[in-house]
Subunit: 295 residues, 4 copies
Amino acid sequence: MADIEFKGIFPYLVTPIDQSGNLKEDVLRDLVNHLITKGVHGLTPLGSTGEGAYFPWEVKKRVVDVVVKTAAGRVPVIAGVNEMTTNGAVKQAIETERIGADGILVVLPTYFPLADQQVVEHFRAVARAVSCPVTLYTNPKFAKWGFTIPMLEELAEEPNIRYLKDASGNTGKLLSIVNALQDRIKIFSASAHVPLFVFMMGGVGWMSGPACLIPEQCVKLYELAREKRWEAAFEFQKTLWSLNVAFQNYSLAACVKAGLEMQGFPVGFPLPPQRQLDEEGKKIVSQILTNIGVL
Amino acid sequence: MADIEFKGIFPYLVTPIDQSGNLKEDVLRDLVNHLITKGVHGLTPLGSTGEGAYFPWEVKKRVVDVVVKTAAGRVPVIAGVNEMTTNGAVKQAIETERIGADGILVVLPTYFPLADQQVVEHFRAVARAVSCPVTLYTNPKFAKWGFTIPMLEELAEEPNIRYLKDASGNTGKLLSIVNALQDRIKIFSASAHVPLFVFMMGGVGWMSGPACLIPEQCVKLYELAREKRWEAAFEFQKTLWSLNVAFQNYSLAACVKAGLEMQGFPVGFPLPPQRQLDEEGKKIVSQILTNIGVL
Amino acid sequence: MADIEFKGIFPYLVTPIDQSGNLKEDVLRDLVNHLITKGVHGLTPLGSTGEGAYFPWEVKKRVVDVVVKTAAGRVPVIAGVNEMTTNGAVKQAIETERIGADGILVVLPTYFPLADQQVVEHFRAVARAVSCPVTLYTNPKFAKWGFTIPMLEELAEEPNIRYLKDASGNTGKLLSIVNALQDRIKIFSASAHVPLFVFMMGGVGWMSGPACLIPEQCVKLYELAREKRWEAAFEFQKTLWSLNVAFQNYSLAACVKAGLEMQGFPVGFPLPPQRQLDEEGKKIVSQILTNIGVL
Amino acid sequence: MADIEFKGIFPYLVTPIDQSGNLKEDVLRDLVNHLITKGVHGLTPLGSTGEGAYFPWEVKKRVVDVVVKTAAGRVPVIAGVNEMTTNGAVKQAIETERIGADGILVVLPTYFPLADQQVVEHFRAVARAVSCPVTLYTNPKFAKWGFTIPMLEELAEEPNIRYLKDASGNTGKLLSIVNALQDRIKIFSASAHVPLFVFMMGGVGWMSGPACLIPEQCVKLYELAREKRWEAAFEFQKTLWSLNVAFQNYSLAACVKAGLEMQGFPVGFPLPPQRQLDEEGKKIVSQILTNIGVL
């Protein structure tokens, strides 16, 4: 898969756990098989939705192994590397590639704030430790830094840094990035905003927690965009938007996990102190999934 | 003009002043004539770009009068009502309508923060004071409040509140507003972000400071969108985007005023303590306007 | 009063209005006489509490005139100059001094954000327009700028810029300012935080909305601090703190106006769209004033 | 040590590492002995300064063990429990107590934002897992939550939650906390702000990164406050303030580690991607330590 181009719908997989917090490998396998059957183009375990910042490496390593082995080459796996220290991230990136992930998504959570140059050095060190394609991740709501265009230009010089998942939802900023970086870094849309606009800008795909719940709909939206049927795509996206709105009011991992439970995947709840969806929240998610036709 | 539907390109007019801060009425007339000749669909004096928050009412009254008389019915005039107190805004709205403006754009600057209900009451009081169509304006960067959907639903019950100009640049939020408010409130795009996406959502037009500088280009973008030539529109918009980026780094009024000076309209500088464009900034604006082909 | 040193308790006067928004001059006179009788060391009309950002100049001019004439030299008057434009602020400063104010407090509200240098130029221009002592005002919650130490050092070179009222409530930052500026700029404490700590740092006084309601208590706190009875002062301040806490939950002008109505001064309500205190809020303010012993 | 009352100066210990990121246990032992000799009243490993959010549990466990064994009962050890998940924090708290720490300091870093109730449940779960005294830690700059007074009142019902280290630097908020919680929760001052004011409020001590560098000075300040020599204390604190100011401009762990290297403790650098102090920064820290007389 050396020359693979990643594109299309990559659901952010949740990490299924039991009451004691132990990984439920069977449920993860079922979810992977289900999503591939529904036509998704790839899989992304251990992103934000996968609670990659919360689990210890022993668990995360098992997650990567289960997803890679279950996907078995049917679709590419871009696994999250989500660590606060550069040394830790480098080690996990190397092991993630060795286990067989086709690419990595590098997420950098923070405790102390970071200067731009430190952020660049972290992503560069991780990228140089592997030979697979690297996707940069940024979400200014969850970390204390954000990419500027000069930072992205510096990172784009690493040959295997080839994708950016920008979760800011700032379409204006994305347009500036597209204009400045052109084909050097390809864009994946965030789940919480308007993938259609990102496709119109030339974005290659959509990494998304909600795609766990509505994989066929996400694939259809992507196909409409590829066929440049923009208005049909826009009308279709409107029907999906309510899901994003609900997810902004609750915790992302809690919503996706609750929705998957409703669909028969016993993935459990997010790790405390994260909050489970309350009854009110479950009712809203259930109603939306019913409206979209997946429940 | 009772049943007029506002749509298309409405440049936010700058307020031309001399060194002593006095209004240059002749320059304002020239600018109005120039923009109408270039095909704009309406005119909006005294918005943010027009420094509506800074000038005393005597000056603002003259601005409305000059713009209305010069437009002379060729295009509609939506004049800004930009005051901190409700009483002041009501009085200015009444006089603005009496002078002959076809609609008003209500801007609410703040000193003390405001609760949602106070914001609603302000806009409602102003709307009830006039019979012309009212455009709601919000820019969370410049004021200490923002519209929620419940606030907009409450305001949409006023029959003459018919438009919203949301300058947040948050396309996700706009999509939620469009879904919730449907045809009750029509959307004008902000200048600083991606009007094309707003047109695709059903937005009716674009109120924009930069449209003073590139009126023909803005009209062309609007026409491409009306013809649903989305990709041509997107490619064309890309060429205009650099202007928006530059304007985010400098003060909007300073940029538009500097660009108009370059185009031969001696509009002066923004009122101190706002900063004039420095030499570096002028060079950047000049280069961008040259690239776009309007200098 | 050329060589006067301002120090002690300066209540921020509210601006009493009737239902139509007209100034109630008699009530203002009564309030001035009442506060002087209670022992305050000076008076500050048209600060934040005085809604200086909201009233037009004709009203503000009357306020200065009434306060100056009523004080009649018994205590100094430092009147607020609260305008968005430099030209407007310069004109009002000159008239304010001409009317007889002993000093001015310069407040700079904002619509567009300002760069540091623009802020410095505004304050310097206003200071150079008058010969009376100037107090710099900053409140990062209400404006889009704040003083850095280099900005204060630049401004301290103006011979009549001699005081700073920093409403940030950031005692750490104040300590840095005191260390850097030493005696070049004297500090007045904000109303919403801990004047005692500011006195301990060498602060010369306290400009305060709540001092309209509890003038004797504020004077007593100041006297305890002057006598360096720090622990008695601290214990006494504790009893006053509840008032500050309540005022943070409601609008400052609304609280002070409601409290003065309870004490028999019919000062009216804050200018809409600012919110009046609701019944719940009035009950809380009434209870606190009763506990302190002024109701 | 069951009925021990924690009070006085508790340096936040750095975590010394070599170039490969391995713990330098000997250096940690030397530092502990040095600080006890200098008169500190306790030790706090694995706080923010100790990079508790960055190290894996195997390293942190060793840190607690080394500090407890080296202190050997001469002063109490309050060890940081700094984990994103409640389960992880509970396990580490239990082991930390078992190893012999006299108390724990619970720090809650975040990736996804947390609702108040989730925060309360986390701290309560950790407190109930141990029998030693618990110190609550909050720093709104580093996490996405902060304590409200109702949250503290709920937590104060746990018999072993007895201390709060509030790093907000907001003396006004601390005063409200002191008024509301009285003796139920005792306050430790943050390092970055004005401990003297916290002592005046009844604060029992000062947990502080800089106390690693200037332990004798911190002890002296505490003694002056205990003797209620407030003005002498304030004058003395002034001389220490420059250290806090410098530390705000650089990373705390980087500053303390650089300063300890200058004093002959080869503690290494902070874990990347955190930035080491650059030459400019080292010069500033060196100059300040020389001025204070500890270099």
